[in-house]
Symmetry: C2
Subunit: 732 residues, 2 copies
């Protein structure tokens, strides 16, 4: 819930927060989540300038002496000669400020500040005692978050402040007050400090009430031992990151690996309080609900916040289901709660509301993967009911980007249901109205739903949705040999090229035909048949990578649609793994390694190219580094992992025994080096293993996968493709 | 929190709820509190008519077979042949409906109905399962409650319903839905019932959230044993009402007595949930706060709702401080919380907000009485700070009736502070702008504050406010020999008469000069001096009662200002007790008995004449019946009780030993009869007692007061008046 860190930049959805090269710190704020921000705090010395805003009171800082670790940030404010250290519990930010000797120390609570996403509509602060203040701020609506959203806070200081004051309408209040509020409001606390005296500050937040903010504070942080909280936070992060232990590789590769893994855990932002209360924004009026409690009265899972799951079947769905099944379970619970609350399983649970960001129903792959891997601690019947509803007119697929409670539907489901594909120019509300992307994603999502139906014994549904999963074929144009968008009259759109110059192209969502043509995760055998067989397909796919490599496997100038391979956005992040399905696993081994090496920057200037998307790109990096992937997202009734060559000598995955039987799954390599990506031979639990995939059933029992690598491909190994839709289920 | 009973009448602040002679029951609703109403439920048989409103679906009923007791109501709906029984826990209404055999049984949740005070702005209902629904309704603003106020509910049935449906905009929904909402919305549950089959329904409410409504349900009513809840509710009421046990008198007198006592307990409506959460409406945005918890994490006191305390110093302040100190303590806690929240101690805590109903600061007498009787489990320093603030410009006194957050102040405190009295025609916001009533009430309230200051060792403040307590003298006009309102220029208002024909008269709040002239509870000695001595005063006062008796001691046609004695409204309910201060206690004994006999109706047609005001008139009746009173409201640093003749042979008051030392205080009489009101002799704890008062200190230790009564006055007994302001404090 609390993510306390310096804000060098504000007033932007995409470029606010901590930007490494910005010269000043404007404040330290407590949320930094998708569509959510709030409670900016800044210590200063000298004239109180809170009412003048961050441009006035910001401070220069340098990276010298700065420490930034999970659970701890230390930085020096040069303007004020104040040392700042930050740590937190789940719901309480903990600040330690070391001041110079001064009679004019101030701690500013710039509650009305514009931090990110949009302006703060209103805020209030009240003096509770000479050590405590409380208040709230109301985030204004955004295009993605359609309701005003309050955040409440309670803040306690380790020593009494001499004076409470503040500002409203950017004007400093001159009279003594105990409370203040309105637009552009904030409070300051005035202290006298001796030299190098430390001031501690605890700030607890809640999205439901002041009472719950105070309970969060008292439950999580009753003491004043900053070093203990820092230590406990470090321990907690080490336990989470330690679920995967890697050995070998270079120092930079290990840094990159754990940076990626850390990213994969950043999206699980919590909205619910210690007692389980969370804001339900799905209805016409905001309501406070409580998550399910266990027999001890403790919340079984928190209520989570996230962006849309769009594309997560090639990243988080795989990684979380392997390593953090409890997180996946919690998100399933959150989404089922939202179905109960608002009547739709969301595209991604965000701020207690539907955001309708992007297109399709990516939650169905999330649930199918969870369920089929045995992650089921939620109301499965309700989940299926909601996901089935999403597959028809009026479900979540039918709400295209940013469409909020429109009486019409903009997701093209009436076309998809009647003719099996969505044309271009469908009109109606919402953005991202790309018929070809919709068609391809809907077909995959139908297959995921079929897998869930099959597992639940709903065989009629399974047959229906398996049939609909073949709908991708409606877009195959044998003339262009691409997935080719169609007009409403069924004709292929004119002026078609597989790559284009604009950011968004007709038919495709943030991508192009070159990339979306490979978007058949559930029936690679079928796609390969359309291409005329494995040899033709793999040759063409190889040519895409050859063309994409000089651009670093991303679009030129971040234009996703301008290239043949794009690892800067979700729709094509499976492509290197597709050679496994075309009888040429050594090309998967090669291109996975090449892509991984292209994304090897551990400086603040590289790492991800574009929107990291709540850990999706980090999770993808982890999967490529450990050499396991699931092109179908893991959604099939019998999930399995495809093998590529890991970066490391040893990868040990600690299994969560609340879900899985084994203690650990270990991947070891011999003869590994950056220029030796090719698998020579494999054993699984000591026995020779000739296929390029193995089942989740074996994974979850624990075991060891051993790979011998080399500089040249072994073209005999692993050439039989993994199962896909066209293969009878029994063959898996 | 829940007060579940039949609603025969709706759409009125003053005439909604259960009116005995109304022929139909429109619904059973769950709140029935001051300014709060909500969640109307009605079982019906036959065509579903919920969307047509109560005029359509109401049912005739008769009083035959009806049972109405504290904690239980049983009534038969003739239209539908449904037996209805109602009981409740603190926060959960429990319904038992006995249906005829039918395929068309419906339970209507008319959540959007206009019940009382004002329309419902918006409501929502959601089907949770086939046995559970949940929802909320938003009460619109009223002149007294300036914010929209939501109430949430969770309802569970003992058997599954066959169908969930409802209406919006008074139009029945034809499509299947799981949720509905908007204006004029409601839901119905459809059941098939066999003959005489019982359907049980639990409805929990909360003013903060659905989650808390559900927690209230689960904490208070986890089972389905209706008879057990009925029994427990009866036991709880018996325990509360049994704090005073009376013997002797007539059956009608005992019925009236316990009816009065029951009324005195009805005002303590609870806003807070099982976990202590309550809505704080004092600020610009509603917020949820939590009351203080004890070491076990349980709320120390609930957050209460009430009307203004206006006049409660002659009723509830006395009774609660004697018999229910824990309720008084809880209300003090609630008001201190509101001071912390909103910066003002309220005139009465209402719906989490200030209502600014009536005038003055009646909370100061409430607190002074509580504190001086040892009821102190709250933040006393904050209470004093807030009460002191109330005594100056900008405090609660300065917000005259219904004035909400006006930038100006309409309570006349700038006049009072500078010249010691409030003139007429002061202008500014608010209603009830009566300078003479304000002046007289403010003077008494200053004295209460002085008593609190004195007890807290704030001697400078005590001197200041004791001095201001003499301000009533500014209104004494020696020419008219009344408290005479004054114009801004200081002149006496023209066309002055002590009683008038209109409801509201210039200068006086819902009363007249005849009655307010006696409003000097804290300095009867001073008032008597103005009248020229005890003989003159008691003769005049006696003449008022003689003139008032033919009208039953109330105004003709409920016009409070039209008479000389008015026991139908607060400002004059001390008058019969004032003879005790004028050396003629036998006239107090006489007129108290006469007034008590005038209010002896135990049918539904009499009992109280006018607004019962949240138990104030009931409490007054109890005090008159047991023969104890406190003209100064009990606020003095050494509180004492004045003696009149009780109605009963024996009155046993069980003391709350968490506050008081003794176990019981007993009042016994001999030779008592309706026509023998006169005290002949008194003993206290077996020793002769010659004064007409005794100290709270003696009361709280427990003991026995024994009175011998007779048909003729004993004019020797008790002629020395009780202490009042003009007497040195030490003499008490």
């Amino acid at each position: 819930m609390v993510n306390l860190s310096p804000d060098t930049d504000t007033k932007s959805t995409w470029s606010s927060g901590y930007l490494y090269d910005s010269p000043t710190i404007r404040c330290f704020s407590h949320i930094h989540a998708w569509q959510l921000s709030g409670i900016a705090v800044m210590p200063t010395v000298g004239t109180m300038q809170g009412h003048l805003g961050m441009d006035a009171y910001q401070s220069r800082f340098s990276h010298e002496g700065e420490v930034a670790e999970p659970g701890y940030h230390k930085v020096h404010l040069q303007e004020y000669n104040i040392g700042v250290e930050l740590t937190s519990t789940t719901r309480v930010g903990f600040h330690r400020y070391t001041f110079p000797r001064t009679d004019s120390a101030f701690v500013l609570f710039d509650t009305g500040a514009y931090l990110a996403h949009g302006p703060t509509e209103h805020s209030e602060v009240r003096r509770v005692s000479d050590r405590e203040i409380e208040g709230m701020a109301v985030m204004g609506k955004t295009i993605r978050r359609p309701k005003e959203t309050p955040v409440y806070f309670v803040a306690r200081f380790s020593k009494p402040f001499a004076h409470f004051g503040g500002w409203q309408d950017s004007t400093r209040l001159t009279q003594a007050v105990n409370r203040l509020g309105g637009k552009h409001a904030g409070a300051y606390l005035h202290f006298q400090m001796t030299d190098q005296e430390s001031l501690l500050l605890k700030v607890a937040i809640s999205y439901t009430s002041l009472a719950n903010a105070r309970s969060n504070l008292e439950a999580e942080l009753p003491h004043w031992d900053f070093d203990r909280v820092h230590r406990e936070s470090t321990d907690q992060w080490n336990a989470m990151l330690g679920r995967i232990r890697v050995e070998g590789g270079t120092e930079a590769q290990r840094v990159k690996f754990y940076t990626d893994l850390w990213h994969s855990l950043l999206g699980r932002r919590i909205l619910s309080d210690v007692n389980g209360d969370y804001p339900d924004m799905t209805g016409p009026r905001p309501q406070i609900r409580r998550v399910a409690l266990d027999a001890q009265g403790q919340p079984r899972f928190p209520h989570y916040n996230f962006d849309a799951w769009w594309g997560s079947h090639w990243s988080l769905n795989i990684l979380w289901s392997m390593v953090y099944p409890e997180i996946m379970d919690g998100f399933c619970n959150t989404m089922v709660d939202m179905y109960h609350n608002g009547g739709l399983i969301p595209r991604g649970p965000s701020g207690g509301n539907y955001t309708f960001v992007m297109i399709g129903d990516p939650a169905v792959s999330f649930f199918a993967t969870a369920y089929n891997k045995g992650i089921r601690t939620y109301d499965v019947a309700a989940a299926y009911e909601g996901l089935r509803k999403n597959a028809f007119v009026g479900g979540i697929r039918d709400h295209a980007g940013y469409e909020h409670r429109s009486p019409a539907f903009g997701g093209g489901m009436q076309y998809y249901e009647t003719q099996g594909w969505v044309p271009e120019g469908i009109g109606g509300p919402g953005g991202h109205k790309d018929g070809a992307s919709m068609t391809l994603e809907y077909a995959y999502q139908d297959w995921c739903l079929a897998q869930l139906a099959q597992a639940l014994g709903k065989t009629d549904d399974a047959t229906l949705f398996r049939q609909r999963a073949g709908n991708y074929k409606h877009l195959w144009n044998p003339a262009t040999r691409y997935m080719h968008p169609r007009e409403k009259d069924g004709s292929w759109i004119a002026d078609f090229t597989p790559v284009v110059d604009a950011f968004n192209t007709r038919g495709f969502c943030e991508s192009n035909a070159a990339i979306y043509t490979h978007y058949v995760p559930h029936d690679m055998a079928g796609l390969i048949r359309l291409f005329g067989g494995a040899a033709a397909y793999s040759a063409y796919l190889d040519s895409c990578f050859i063309k994409g490599q000089p651009l670093g496997f991303v679009g030129a100038n971040k234009k996703h649609a301008s290239t043949w391979v794009d690892y800067g956005n979700q729709p094509g992040t499976q492509m290197a793994h597709l050679f496994n399905y075309a009888g040429k696993p050594w090309l998967t081994q090669k291109w996975v390694r090449e892509v991984k090496m292209a994304f090897n920057d551990t400086t603040p200037y590289g790492g991800y190219d574009g929107d990291e998307d709540q850990g999706q790109m980090g999770a993808l990096g982890v999967l490529m580094a450990i050499g396991l992937f699931e092109v179908d997202g893991g959604a099939s009734t019998q999930p399995f992992y495809e093998i590529s060559s890991p970066l490391f000598d040893r990868v040990e995955i600690k299994l969560n025994r609340q879900y899985y039987e084994g203690e650990r799954f270990v991947i070891t390599t011999e003869n590994n080096a950056t220029d030796r990506p090719y698998i020579q031979a494999v054993t699984l639990n000591g026995k020779p293993w000739r296929q390029n995939w193995f089942s989740h059933e074996l994974f979850q029992r624990g075991g060891e996968l051993h790979l011998r690598l080399g500089t040249e491909p072994n073209k005999k190994w692993g050439t039989k493709p993994p199962p896909s839709l066209s293969a009878p289920a029994g063959r898996r």
